[in-house]
Structure formats: C-alpha cells, structure tokens
C-alpha cells in the first residue's frame, strides 16, 4: 500500500492517534482529525463509486459540503446513515462505511454498459421514449433500481434528537477568519453573540492555508489567540459541528448541531441526543459563510483523482495527505497558486497551467521558487485514464477568447486539480428572499456587504466576493462597526489596518468550460454536475430544445438537484447556459436557493416530537381505574377514552353487549370527563347563548339544563351539548370532546370582534371537572348511596334539572341528563377527586352490578335513541332541519343567530336535501357498515346515483336486531311513522360489494316517548 500521507507539523490530524476503520469490507488506518475522505485518500483509495446515469468511475472531488461523488453509507443496522459525504464524516475508531453505488460490483457496474450507449441517452431521453402504456411500468422498475445512492435503515432509530430555541442579539454564521474577527469585535463590545460553524474546528479556510501571515503572526497563531479570547467572553457562545442550514423570515436560523456522530459507537451517550436542532431568532445576522471553489469543466473531468485545486490543498495542508505525487493543476485565477506551492514544497511534482497568459507575477515568482512548473496560457482540455486520472492533455488557449490556439504536452499525473474561481456561499442569504447579484469582475454571484442591513442581515468576506484575506478582514471591521452602530454599542479596541502576506490579486480569466477544439457534444464528456451526470453538452441540448429559462435547463438536465445542491456545478451550468443562449450570466440568473444548505435528518427536524411526546395524549382523572378494569382505549381528539372494557373470555362484541344491557336494565357508568366545559358569566350571558346557539335560552331557569345546537355561519351544525343555567347570569356549557378548543375560540372570536359590548366572560373549565355518568334504571339507587344532600326523587329532581350537592363526600354538580335515553345522572366534581368519585360510585353500585362502559356502548345506546353525534352523523353539510331537529331552532329570536341567514339560500332551503333517518335491514342479523351508501335499486352498474349513507350502525342488544342511522335524500318523507318498523320506502345499502334491502324508519328505535329518561 503506497502511503499518500505526508506528515507535517501544520496538519490538523494527530499522528500520535492512529484510528482503524473499515470501508467496503477492508480495514484501513487513519488518524484522529481525519475525515473519511482524507483517510481513504491517504490509503490510496480513489474510486468510491459509479455515476448515476452512465456508471462512470467516480472519486472524491471536494473536501467539504460541496462533495458530489463520495456518498457513503456509514455504519450498519439501526445506526446506519445513508448518503453521508465522506468529506464530512469525522473518522473514529471502528468506523464502518461502504460505497453506495456500483452494481453488481464497483469493478463491473452494469450502468457502465449503458454508459457506452450514452449518446443515445441525452438529457431528458426518458421523456422521449418508454411511451408504451403496457411497458412503462417495467421500464420504470428498471429506472428505479438503477437510481438512488444509499439505503434507508431497515430498523427504527435508537437515537434521540432535540430542539433548542434560542434568541441572540447577533448570530455569526461561519467560523473562518472573517466570522471570528466579527464575533470578536461584537463580543468585546458586550453583545450577545452566537457563532456557528459546521466544522469540527474553527478556522475555515485558514485550516487549509496555514502559511498565511496575519499581522506578522502565522495564521494558526492568530487563530489560536482569537479563539481563546472569544471563548473567554461571557456573552459569546460558540457552536462547532453546527451547520446553519436555513434562514427563514424575520431572521430565524435553523442549525443542526452534531453531538455524537463523531464518536466511536461505544462512546456515544444514551442520554444525550444524537443531533440538536437550534432555532435561533436573531436581531442581527452576520453571514460569514465564505466561498466554495468551483472546478473548470473539461473532457473526462470526472475521473477519480481529479479534485478541485482547493481540495488538493486542503488534503495536503490540513490532513497531511498528498492525493497524488505527480500533480497537474489548472487555474483561471490566483487562488490555486498557494496550493501548488505547498504541494511542490511537500515534494510533489507540480505543473500549473494558468489559463491566463499573464499570471500574477508575485505568485508566479513564488511558484517558481517553490518548484512549480507554471505554464501560462495553457489549459487542460481533457484528462486521460480509465479508472483514475493518468495524464492531462494540455493545450494553448487564446489570450482573448476561449478557444485553442495551439497544442500542448500530455503530462502524466496521478492527481489533477482545477480552479475555476470561487462561488460565494450565498445560500442562506437567499433563503428568505434575498437575491445575489453577478459580479463580472469577481466572476461570481455575490451578496452585498451590508446585506439587508435594514432587517439586520449583514454579509462579510467570501460571500460578498471579497476573496482576499486582508480586504476580507478589513470588511469584517466595517461590518462589525455597522452592527455595533445598529445596536447602539460602542466598539472596543482599535480598528487598525490588518496586514497579510498575500499578493494583491489580479483578475481571473473568464473561463468555465475549457475548450477541446470540438463542437459541444462531439468530444469527451465534460461534466458540470457530477452527481446527476449532467454534461456541458446536455445544457446545450436543453437550450436547443427551447428549455431556455435557467429553471427549465435545471429541471430538464437535473443540474444542481443532487445532495450537493449544485455547490460546485451551478455557476458553471449558468455560464455554459448563458453561452448557449447568447446571453449574459446575470440575464440567465440563478435558480432559487432553497433550504437545506446541507441535508438534515428527519429525526432532527422532528426533534422531541416522536414516541410518547409526538403529540399530547390527554387522560381523564379516572384513567388508572379504566386501565385496571381492562379498558381498550380509543383516540378521540387528543383524548384517550375507554372504547370498551374487556373481561376475561370476552371479545369486543360481547363486551359492548354486556355494557349496553347493564345500562338499559341495571346500571352502567361512563367517564364523560372529556366533554368540553365552558363557564359563562355575565348579565348578557343569556343573550350571548341566544346568538351562538340555534335555540332559545331566554326562558331557561336556574336549576335547569337545555340541549343546544351550535351552527357555523353557513348554517351547518358544528357542535352540540347541554348547557345548564347556574343562575340568571351564570351558565355552564358543555361541548363535544373534540370540539372544545374550537368552540371556546369561536365564542371568544365572536365576543371580542363582533359583540364586545355584551357583558359576558367565558372560561374553559374542561379540565376542572371530572364527570361520571351513572346510567340506567338503578342509577338513582346507586347515587342515593353516596349522596344524601340532594333530593333525588323523580318529583323533585326532574329530567333536565341539575343540583348542587355532595357525592361521596365531595362537592358536586349533578345533572339529570341522558345521552342513552335511560334515567341518568351526570356527576361532576373537582378533577382531583375524579378517581375517588369513580371508585366510590363503582363501590356503591357493586350490589347492582354497576358496569363501566366505553364509547362503543355509548354510541350504541344513543343511536338506539336517535341522538346524533356531531362529526359522525353530521359532516359539515347538515342543517338542524336536515337532522329533523327543528325543535332545536328558534327562528323567532330577535337577533339573527349565527347561521340563521344561510337557511334561506335556495339550495339550503330547497328540496332534495339529505336528512337523518333510521334504517332497518330486512335481514335483522345484518349490521350495515358505517359508511355504506344508500341506493335505490339492488343492481350495481356504475355510475349509480347515491341517496345518502349510513352514519351509525350497530347490533342492538335491546332490540335483538341491527339498527342504523343514515342521511338519505328526502329521508324524512320516506320514513315510516315513529315506532313503526314497517317502513314505507325500501332502499338498498351498498358496502363491501353487496347490497342489502333496508327500510327507512324513524331514527328513534327505543322508547320513542322518552319514558325511561323521565322516570
């Protein structure tokens, strides 16, 4: 194994701490501080996968978030993570990773066969073929199998994630020299500063260019000092391994902090989250996000061993890795020179083709001094090699236009680096609507230094196109002062001029696609977007086909759609498109930058909202009692309510039957605590009720209760419940379980916005009251055992009365209301005593075999009586009249109550409306499905006209047969008189592929005269 390791003291890896890791089943050694990419390169691993469309060999191109190729699957089992860029994976002991492409094997990829036919697979080829309806699913299957990189885990995640909500005066994004200096200036002045950096270590580009001299100090010393001071400032918080991935309206930053992924599996904490999502609302944001070097586009530029010039430099200086020993580089600018010098000094042979005929003389001298073979006026028109780069073909290019002016040598090499200039990292700046502008001198889309200062967003350094260290640091001072001025703070410390040893930069050459002397598309493939296999020719083709908007070009070719989000490719793509369109780059414009800047796990986004804390589960005070008695629970809104109570040997039907019989023949008890309860007080409470309910409340006396229908302005039933008059100016309203919050907000809305003059206040007391409904012929006897201060006699305590008293020793409100049609009492106590009340009632009822029942039995009992459930028997399209509940509407109230006006509209007032009825199947054993459709004839030849549907359906133990409620067009006219089961209209119910004959009857199946509830 040839080592590519070059040990030098500036490297940020710890050569004293070797680390073993596994890649694609082989074991390797790296060092603490390595990334997976640097360690693989150090071990001579070049090819990390095959390309998406053509199956071409691919290797590492970049050194950070910009990496398009090296997508790896890290770890296995529940810990596995798909698609991590090897350039961002910190090496730890025992790390296991594998490549994600190359099938069946890296050495032989089936797609490389298709690659040979690549001329027949231009951009958008799939839109032009596979058009057979019969064959497309098969083609699609093949396409799908071929696509994709890593694999989703096959097990649920064992790690946890959390969120942190922060507020800061200033957030500085980016811990490079500019970010650090700005944070220091602001921190020194006493501002609350939060500094975010995505890397393990602060320093940004300085970590890759350690030879920089700042104010006479070596770069690293400058870095050490500034970090030390920052850490000493009490109001400065520094987060490393924290990637700011989105900037939202009004200065909200989302950032993800990596807390565990860099640790060996065995050292990861089980109590700490894996990642933390920081949501930081900042008064001021300083974007010091730097810039990413883009490569030049040339033939075969995707061979393994071809990297960006800055990545070559980073691997050498930061990680002590020489990607190759014989290096050829090409550049359009000054930036590549330092790396070339460093590589040459490290013992590599370096040829640097500068596409400019007149390079920066200072750099040229330094390069010569370092031993770099500088070739002004040359470019690399193509790379040679099959599985890795073997040589570079140099050509002479014209001084004034991007065309070949002469031949050049072919130089053998084992690494090739190119620099096409820097692309500012403007992503965050653009997330909330900012647009970068094209700077023709810098050849970059840049953000303005004062960003959008009016809203507190500032930019500094590379993001503004200020690429030199010295001017960037001076800009950091300026921006610092602007922020300080905006916050009214005085600056601390002098803003003296900063000196560096950088030569003054000279302009870059305006070149993106290196010419090869051929018409685009005729030569070797020149890739713009590596991850999506988008070539320069593809962009030209898109334009020829009239995909002329940059968004069309992007979407047609898939340019910039990869997990690198086009960090290396976009500007080259825009430039090539501009050339093909004959437009300027700013006229072509950019595509829209969208979060995330770099990918974020779903787990982090979800944070604590999973498992037990996904969404609230609301419990009643009696919950423990229910659990102890075998309750099976149902979700009703956020509440958990007992659906039925299973006894040994029972199934669900048997349990419901037992519960219903108890309530009808003996005594049952139900937990009704979840009902919404609203306390209303005020002189105008009664008038308020008159306005928000369809019926009248004028006559309701203290001590009495009344049922009400609440409508929306569209006239449709939205909620219902019983309201009790506590005193003339005090009412206790109940709402449905699911509607409680909505109703309270609805009432407050009307009161606050429309009728503020009404003297009424309302407060939710839903949680205050625990409610036990004691139901059945024996309920009075049960209650009497635990309540001595209320006269429970029928003559004194009538149906729809309520009384205050003491039950089981606890102060209680007792309502004689019934949702079952039986004699029933709803006992309400302070919820702290709900459990006690429940157990006391069960104990008191033991001799009567009191039976707790759940929502299933409750639904059945009420359906036998034809009582509606809002949301089950109604669906937002039912008026009270549709429900045959005209008795609950008072059209004579002076105020036009909510919803009243809508009744008069032609459709709402018209015939043919669906109305609530009862249904009886001809075969009494058949229980219709809830949701069965009602049709006129038994034949089913679609389309079949539907008259309505079954809303509720049960087998009634009381009647020994099935019953159903339904809404049916003109149903009221169709139904038989109350109590008579011989319906006059026969219809059919359809479900599960079968029709069943039904009769339309009254929805009141049991005790139509209401004798039981009045008993």
């Amino acid at each position: 194994m040839t080592s590519h390791r070059i040990r030098h003291e500036k490297a940020r890896v710890d050569f004293g701490r070797p680390i073993s890791f596994h890649f694609d089943g082989k074991s390797y050694t790296g060092y603490a501080g390595d990334t997976l990419a640097s360690a693989l390169l150090a071990n001579g691993v070049r090819m990390l996968g095959r390309s998406f469309k053509y199956g071409r060999p691919r290797g590492i191109v970049g050194a950070g978030a910009e990496e398009p190729n090296a997508l790896t699957q890290v770890e296995t089992g529940a810990a596995t993570i798909p698609n991590l860029k090897a350039t961002q994976v910190e090496l730890y002991d025992g790390l296991t990773a594998r490549r994600t492409t190359g099938w069946p094997a890296l050495d032989f990829d089936l797609k490389s066969v298709s690659g040979r036919f690549s001329r027949f697979m231009p951009a958008g080829f799939y839109y032009k073929t596979f058009q057979s309806r019969a064959l497309w699913p098969k083609f699609e299957h093949v396409i799908r199998q071929a696509a994709g990189y890593g694999s989703a885990p096959e097990e649920a995640d064992l790690d946890s994630y959390d969120h942190s909500h922060r507020h800061a005066e200033v957030v500085v994004v980016g811990g490079g020299p500019c970010g650090l200096l700005t944070a220091l200036n602001l921190g020194r002045a006493g501002l609350n500063v939060t500094l975010l950096d995505e890397q393990r270590e602060l320093g940004g580009w300085l970590l890759s260019y350690p030879h920089a001299i700042i104010d006479g100090q070596p770069g690293y010393d400058w870095l050490k000092n500034i970090i030390a001071e920052l850490r000493s400032l009490p109001r400065v918080q520094i987060f490393t391994r924290t990637s700011a991935f989105a900037l939202h309206d009004l200065n909200l930053i989302q950032a993800v902090e990596q807390l565990q992924d860099h640790l060996p599996l065995a050292e990861r904490s089980e109590t700490s989250p894996r990642q933390r999502l920081h949501r930081i609302r900042a008064s001021h944001i300083v974007l010091a996000t730097g810039a990413i070097e883009r490569p030049l586009v040339f033939g075969n530029n995707d061979l393994p061993g071809i990297l960006t010039a800055s990545a070559l430099t980073t691997y050498l200086n930061r990680y002590g890795v020489a990607v190759g020993r014989r290096v050829v580089m090409q550049t359009s600018n000054d930036f590549a020179y330092q790396g070339a010098c460093d590589l040459a000094r490290a013992g590599c042979s370096v040829v640097l083709a500068d596409t400019r005929t007149r390079p920066n003389t200072v750099w040229e001298q330094r390069a010569h001094a370092a031993g770099v073979d500088v070739r002004p006026g040359y470019a690399i028109s193509g790379a040679l090699g099959s599985r890795a780069v073997k040589a570079a073909k140099l050509v002479k290019i014209s001084a004034d236009q991007n065309s070949i002016s002469g031949d050049g040598p072919t130089i053998e090499c084992d690494a090739l680096g190119s620099s096409g200039g820097l692309s500012p990292t403007v992503h965050l700046y653009c997330h909330d609507g900012g647009r970068p502008h094209w700077d023709e001198e810098k050849l970059a889309f840049v953000a303005p230094a004062m960003g959008r200062a009016a809203t507190g967003i500032y930019c500094v350094g590379g993001i503004t196109g200020t690429f030199g260290l010295q001017p960037a640091l001076m800009q950091a001072h300026e921006v610092s002062d602007a922020v300080l001025a905006a916050t009214g703070k005085a600056s601390v410390g002098e803003r003296r001029s900063i000196e560096t040893d950088e030569p003054n930069a000279i302009p870059a050459r305006r070149i993106f696609r290196v010419p090869d002397g051929k018409v685009e598309g005729h030569g070797k493939k020149a890739f713009v977007d590596f991850q999506n296999d988008v070539t320069a020719a593809d962009i030209h083709l898109a334009v020829r086909e009239n995909y002329r908007s940059i968004e069309h070009i992007k979407r047609y070719t898939a340019l910039g759609f990869g997990t690198d989000q086009g960090k290396l490719s976009n500007v080259n793509g825009f430039a090539i498109a501009a050339e093909a369109l004959g437009k300027s780059i700013p006229d072509v414009g950019t595509t829209t930058y969208r979060p995330a800047y770099s990918p974020v796990t779903f787990g982090t986004l979800a944070g604590p909202h999973e498992g037990d804390t996904f969404e609230p589960k609301r419990y009643t005070p009696m919950h423990a009692s229910h659990v102890a008695r075998g309750a099976v629970f149902e979700n009703v809104g956020q509440w958990l309510r007992p659906q039925y109570f299973l006894k040994a040997g029972e199934d669900q039907d048997a349990a419901i039957r037992r519960e219903c019989i108890a309530a009808r023949r003996g005594v049952g008890i139900m937990d009704a605590s979840t009902l919404g309860k609203i306390d209303l007080q005020g002189k105008d409470a009664r008038e308020f009720l008159n306005r928000v309910y369809a019926n009248s409340w004028t006559q309701l006396a203290p001590g009495k209760c009344r049922y009400g229908l609440m409508l929306d302005e569209n006239g449709m039933v939205m909620d219902d419940g019983v309201t009790a008059c506590i005193s003339d100016e005090h009412f206790a309203m109940t709402t449905t379980t699911g509607g409680a919050a909505r109703v309270l907000s609805w009432l407050e809305n009307w009161h606050q916005t429309e009728w503020p003059d009404l003297d009424v206040y309302m407060t939710s007391v839903t949680d205050h009251w625990a409610t036990a409904a004691v139901v059945g012929p024996k309920s009075r006897e049960v209650l009497a055992k635990v309540c001595s201060d209320i006269d429970l006699s029928p003559s004194s305590f009538k149906f729809m009365d309520w009384r205050e008293g003491t039950v089981a020793g606890v102060a209680a409100r007792v309502f004689r209301i019934s949702f079952s049609g039986e004699l029933a009492f709803e006992v309400n106590v302070d919820a702290n005593y709900g459990y006690h009340l429940w157990e006391a009632l069960l104990a008191a009822g033991a001799e009567f075999d009191i039976t707790p029942y759940g929502t299933d039995a409750m639904h059945l009992l009420r359906a036998e009586k034809g009582f509606i459930i809002v949301g089950q028997d109604t669906d937002g399209s039912m008026t009270p009249f549709d429900l045959d509940m005209a008795w609950a509407v008072s059209m004579k109230k002076p105020f036009s109550f909510i919803g009243k006006r809508s009744f008069a509209r032609s459709d709402t007032a018209g015939p043919n409306r669906k109305q609530l009825v009862g249904l009886l199947t001809e075969d009494p054993s058949i229980v219709l499905a809830e949701g069965a459709q009602i049709i006129e004839a038994p034949e089913v030849n679609p389309p079949v006209a539907m008259l309505g549907h079954v809303t509720s359906s049960y087998f009634s133990p009381e009647l020994g047969r099935s019953i159903a409620l339904a809404v049916v067009r003109d149903g009221i006219k169709r139904r038989s008189p109350e109590g008579q089961n011989a319906g006059r209209d026969r219809l059919f119910a359809y479900f599960g592929g079968q029709t069943h004959r039904v009769q339309v009857v009254s929805p009141v199946f049991v005790d139509p005269k209401g004798e039981r509830q009045n008993a």
């Binding site: 798909p82 698609n83 697979m121 231009p122 839109y127 073929t129 058009q131 057979s132 309806r133 699609e140 799908r144 696509a147 994709g148 990189y149 890593g150 694999s151 096959e154 995640d157 790690d159 994630y161 939202h248 309206d249 909200l252 989302q254 999502l277 018409v519 083709l541 086909e545 009239n546 908007s549 979407r555 047609y556 990869g562 969208r594 995330a596 990918p599 974020v600 796990t601 779903f602 979800a606 909202h609 999973e610 996904f614 969404e615 149902e634 006239g715 089950q872 937002g876 399209s877 032609s906 459709d907 809830e930 949701g931 459709q933 049709i935 089913v940 389309p943 539907m946 549907h949 479900f991």
Partner: protein, 417 residues
C-alpha cells in the same frame, strides 16, 4: 400529430450527436389579438389551450405566463394523482382526469412518467375508518377503483409502515386506489406545451397581466408587461394569484392564498413503492423514480404569496413521517420549498364563468390541483369554447357560494391533496 419522440428518433439523433432535435415548443411574441388568451402557463393552462385547439378547433390561442412555463405550482407539487374523492361531483371530475392521465404519455408523445403505483389513505381513528368506508363505497358506485384495507393488509403491502397499536394514532386501516399514482410534474407542463405549440398555440413567457379592459361588463382584452392584447375570451388559470387577477376585473373570489410546503430527501435505493397519505398525522410520502422521498406538509395557516412557509410546519411533517415510517428517522431532507395554494371554503375548485362576459376562472384547487391537470384543462376548454360549463364542471361554478350548494370535500374526504 407526428410522433417525433421515440426510440428510433433517439437512435438517429444520437448518431448525429443529438444535434437534430427540434425545440420542444415554439417561443412566441405576443400578437395584438387572439380568439382566446389563457393566463397562466402551468399544467392546467397549457392543457386548456391544448384541448381548446384539439377538441374545439380554436386556432388563435395564446397562453401568457408571468414567469417561465410550468414554474408555479406545477413545478412545486408532490405529484400525486388519484380520483378517490367523496362527493360525486369531485369524483367524476378527478376520474375524468385520471382517465386522461392513463393515456397522456401516448397522447402527448411525451413521457409524463405517470406511474400507477397506487395510493393509500390511512385511517387512524374510528371516524377515519367510517369516512374511508363511506368514500370507498361511493367510489365503487361511481365506477372508481377503490378498496378498504384493514391494518394487517396495509402492513402486508407496506412492510415499513408502523402499524403498532402503541403508535400515538395507530393505523386502523386504509383506503387504497390501485390506479392512482404519481407523475413527473415538469414533464406534464412541457408535454402539454409541446403539444399545444404543435397546434399553433402561442406560448408567451415573461408576460405578466397588469390590467383588464372591461367595457359594459364585457372583457375586451388585457394589459400586459409585453403590451396590450385584445381577446374575445380570457381564461385565468393562475393558481396562487387568482385573487390578484380577479381584482383587476373587480371580482372578489372565495379564495385565500396559503403557503403549502414540501420537501424531498436525498436520493436512496427504492424503499417505498407506493404513495402513502395520512391526514390524521399530517404527512404524505412517495419515492420518486430518482430515489428521493417526496413529502408533502400541511398548509401554513396564514395567507402569503412568498412561496415559503414556516419551518415548524416542516418539522411537524418530518415528525409525522417518522411516526408512520420509523426507519426514515436517519434519512435526510435535501431540499424544501413552498408553493401558493388557492383554498376555497369547500375545498373544491372553481371552474366557472364570471359576471364579466368573456372572462372565465379556473382556480381554487387548494392542495389538489396537479392530479386534475388534464381533466381541468379539458372541461375548462369546453367551458370557454361553448361559454357554458361542461357537465363535469357545472357544480363548480362561482354561484354555489350564493345558493349554498357547496360540495364540501372537507367534510369527510378530508385529505384533498
């Protein structure tokens, strides 16, 4: 129409370095007058123009677009196509569309990659299951393929779905429409643009409507950023911007424009081969042919034209997806975006004449417009050509808000995506 796109053409053009391809559609300059001008070159607008030309013989048509064609909600949706709606009117309209979808690739000679991989609508509560039963029975009676599946069957078909009874909202079952699926959204716009262009339709991009010329209640023409244009009839299909256009005509619509967000994961190997939608936990997901999980979120509650929403909506959706698919917790979001959806009070569209003669609106598709694209264009073309609604869009007129004849897909169909 000549079938220019085929294996053969790929082969012959490929031999010639792919230089021989014609423009997919013709870029046109705005002429001074047209028979019909369609405002909005999204899928619906281009389809409208296509069917106007093809089925109604209208020859003088322009589609004008303030940005680039297919750049509005067509470019931003999560591409689900299904027709299993609750109410007859909606079902028939979407089923009409679905039938067109099934032959769209061949009809347009452009592979819109319509993939009938089925759609599951999960039920998590007893009421969800009642609604599913109701909807499926209605679908079957309307001739739409639909099934009710219990939780065990859902688990069998989607093994990675969390069907644990301990989930916060356990999966109790699902409705399933086998013929439903997804399509390649951009391709739909491009395919219609290409086909319409072949019929002579002028497609004018970067042309924003700035005013309407209305005389005596009759539309005469439009003012645009590229000059004025006379038109006998104008059909507005401007998704999020319908209210803005309506205002130019002095009309108020029953519409609010809300952000609707979506996101995709990084590209992965196939792991989900169908479409799963859950209203109770507020998330829906499919996996694109490229391998990205395509995930839709709920709408932001406030109105906005910014094409971006608030992150807590995305966070909630990610949580919902993990609740449904615990194995996706470590999968990463690659990109998120937002569109602007026109929501109506009854969650049903408006395809209607207006009180201004010659002015028609096709809007209010809420979160569910993409799936209707060919059907919407087809019936809207009919409405414009005949100045009378097609039988399938009669119920979707504006006057339903005065008569009270709302269709109300909120009620039980719940998910209107």
């Amino acid at each position: 129409m000549k079938k220019d796109y085929s294996i053969w053409s790929l082969f012959t053009k490929g031999l010639n370095y792919n230089e021989g391809w014609d423009p997919a559609w013709r870029s046109a300059e705005l002429k001074p007058s047209y028979n019909v001008v369609i405002v909005g070159a999204g899928g619906h607008g281009l389809a409208t123009a296509y069917y106007l030309a093809k089925e109604h013989g209208v020859r003088d048509i322009a589609v004008i677009e303030k940005g680039y064609l297919g750049g509005g909600n067509t470019a931003r949706n999560t591409t689900i196509v299904r027709s299993n709606y609750l109410w007859d009117e909606a079902t028939m309209l979407y089923e009409h569309a679905l039938k067109l979808w099934e032959h769209l690739t061949e009809e347009l000679n452009f592979n819109v990659m319509f993939s009938q991989r089925g759609v599951f609508n999960l039920g998590h509560t007893l009421q969800d299951m009642r609604d599913i039963e109701r909807r499926v029975n209605a679908n079957v009676l309307n001739g739409v393929d639909a099934q009710v599946l219990d939780a065990a069957e859902v688990k069998r078909r989607i093994p990675i779905l969390n069907t644990s009874r301990n989930a916060r909202y356990p999966v109790l079952g699902a409705s399933y429409q086998p013929r439903a699926g997804v399509a390649r959204h951009d391709a739909v716009a491009w395919g219609f643009a290409r086909a319409a262009s072949k019929y002579g339709v002028d497609i004018v991009e970067n042309c924003e409507v700035t005013g309407m010329d209305i005389v005596n209640g009759r539309l005469q023409g439009l003012q645009t950023s590229r000059g004025s244009v006379r038109a006998d009839r104008v059909g507005c299909v401007a998704s999020g911007h319908s209210s803005v256009l309506a205002k130019m005509a002095g009309i108020r619509l029953p519409i609010e424009s809300h952000p609707l967000q979506a996101f995709v994961s990084e590209s992965m190997k196939p792991v989900l081969d169908t479409v799963v939608m859950s209203n109770a936990v507020h998330g829906y997901a499919s996996q694109s042919d490229k391998g990205e999980l395509v995930i839709g979120a709920g709408i932001d509650h406030y109105t906005s034209y910014t094409q971006r929403g608030s992150p807590h909506i995305i966070e909630h959706t990610a949580a919902a997806i993990i609740e449904l698919f615990p194995i996706f917790s470590r999968v990463r979001m690659n990109r998120q975006w937002g569109g602007i959806v026109d929501t109506t009070p009854d969650a049903c569209p408006i395809i209607s004449k207006t009180k201004v003669k010659g002015l028609y609106f096709n809007c209010g598709w809420g979160t569910g417009g993409f799936k209707a694209t060919p059907g919407s264009g087809n019936v809207f073309a009919h409405t414009i050509a005949n100045d009378e609604p097609h039988p399938l869009n009669k119920a979707f007129s504006l006057d339903r808000f005065s008569t009270g004849h709302l269709i109300d897909e909120h009620g039980a169909a719940a998910v209107a995506h």
